[in-house]
Amino acid sequence: MKGYLVAASLLASSVLSGCATLKGADQAFLNLVGPSTQSRVQGHYVDNSDVRQYYKLDPQRQSKQRLSYDGRAVPAAEARQQNLVDIPMLQAYLQGIVTRLSKGWPGELPPLQVKITDSYGFGPSADPYGNLFVPLGMLDNVASEDEIAAMLGHEMSHVLLHHHDRMAAFQQQKDMFTTVASTVALATMAADTGVDRSSGTMKLFSKDPAGTQKTIGNTVLYTALANTFSDQVWSTAWGRSQEDQADLLGTDLMIRAGYAPRAATHSLERLNDFQGKQKPLLTGFLTARKNAMQDSLQQFNLNQFTKELDVLVKDGLTTGLTATSQYFNRSHMSAMDRDTELRQYLQREYRQERRARVNPQSWAKMKSTPQVAKALQGYKDAYFAIDALEKNKVPDADAFIRKALASPVKDQPSIRRTAYTVRLAQGKNSEAVKELQAIKDWSLAGPSTYDLMISYHLKRGDGQSALAMIDKAERNLGSEELFITEKLLANQQLQNAQQVQTVLRKCEQYPTRKENCKKLAPAKA
């Protein structure tokens, strides 16, 4: 039997990973067929030797991460995908919960920073740099501060236990998923752009600006909807054992901070409910998106170059569909399994504490504070605008976005980006661009919002403005890789041969970008 389990584990590792780089898949599989992580733990998890090894921070690892984060070396797949939301009072409240939870950690603490994102997904996520991303959808649905503490404690635990070190292969899948959208936008732009090689450099001119804008607009719409799901789908795909460990440590931390641990089971129930509701939507979305992308590509008389990209898109979508269905098959079951295991751990280790009641008052008070309530409503109206657009109810979308544009968060990237999409749907192209130009704080913007402005400048042949926006994106998102293809195009527009060669050399370092860079590279004289 043991031999069978080992063989099955090895087989599952290779199936789950698809390559040899996925550390932790074997652990995850053993966790499913053998005794659970929770039942193997003796005493409080935070005191276990498995966890003690992380009490002391490795200064070398910390400084390496710091350098990446402060510089521009964050891989594109690790850069945040969402627009950030700026509601200072709410931000301080959430950060206060993290500070309170942190006091229960017996070891040294890495930096932990709460950031609110414009996603209407439910699950929060964490990156290796200690950013804890809290989606608006989560804040919209939790019933108590205890529940927020449970979810933040869980995410903090992923960082404290270095789980990001194990997610390399999942990251590759995420990379494929997010690259597809930018590839389509690029393909659309390239298909609409004439290439004049007579001068030895690539000169771009727009053949059909209105058509391009419409296609990019559609892609933007679908990408906006994709972003609602992408974090939910990918950020939790870390393998069951990591989730179990984060549940255990997060629960220990919340109990030490005086929160009611039953809130952890409330959030797992909600996660399960959310995943159940999203499954049919996601499947439908991927089909719709695939069709939209193919329509976008077929709309233009594609040359060989874009046909190659078309193959890439198809491959990417197949990968996305397969991986997504695997994810749901495994994780949907696991939310309830995790809940059951966690309750047994609480009964064993925290007999008294598990009876504590949640206190819904502090969160209700924060949520109803006028500044916070108005800002949250602004974001919700923007979300409803996108939802109405997808249903082709343009007047409804217009009414919703008008409300959002009257809220205190009107000049934040997510709101203006939605307004941009609504104006495009209304056929008001020049007003659409003005919406983007009204964004006040670009440090809050996510890659897709930058993408719009960069594409706009490139289409107008304004390489200088495109480069300025790319520089902003690199600084604020910490990643040079994200827009390196566009950087190449901008330098080509400026006919800066030296810079083109420099960017090309840099592009060689990024496996998922180098092929596109090569295709866009000027012909050798």
């Binding site: 909807l225 039953r262 939507l281 439908g284 979305f285 609480l346 949640v358 939802d387």
Partner: protein
């Protein structure tokens, strides 16, 4: 209609609604603690002696997170931490994105129960 009658009818209606929609599908703790309406422990019930068939929930006290059920002809309160209740008590109320070009009449779905109820139309 006097006030106490209204309260009585409301209570009866609420109980009926709960019993119709929610039931205990599994006892997760062993033993299960039997409580009074204030959440004070009355006695313990071994899991092997707990009902194996779904047990209707008569009332839910959200503040104390307790449910009232009938055990051996007696109305008692149980802590939800010891139970698996279906449909779950804690769900999300996220607007249903119209990604599937849903046929739903409303642009927004407020369904709070069931596995994807209301969204998969």
């Amino acid at each position: 209609m006097n006030r106490s009658l209204i309260v009585l009818l409301a209570a009866l209606f609420t109980q009926g609604a709960w019993a119709e929609t929610h039931s205990i599908k599994a006892f997760l703790a062993d033993p299960v603690t039997v409580l009074d309406e204030q959440g004070k422990q009355q006695r313990e019930l071994a899991k092997k002696d707990a009902p194996t068939q779904p047990l209707p929930v008569l009332q839910y006290n959200q503040a104390l997170d307790l449910v009232q059920v009938e055990l051996a002809g007696q109305k008692v309160w149980l802590d939800t931490m010891d139970l698996r209740i279906e449909p779950p008590l804690n769900v999300v109320d996220l607007p249903c994105q119209g990604l599937t070009k849903s046929q739903a009449k409303d642009s927004r779905n407020n369904s709070t129960i069931g596995f994807g109820a209301g969204c998969n139309q």
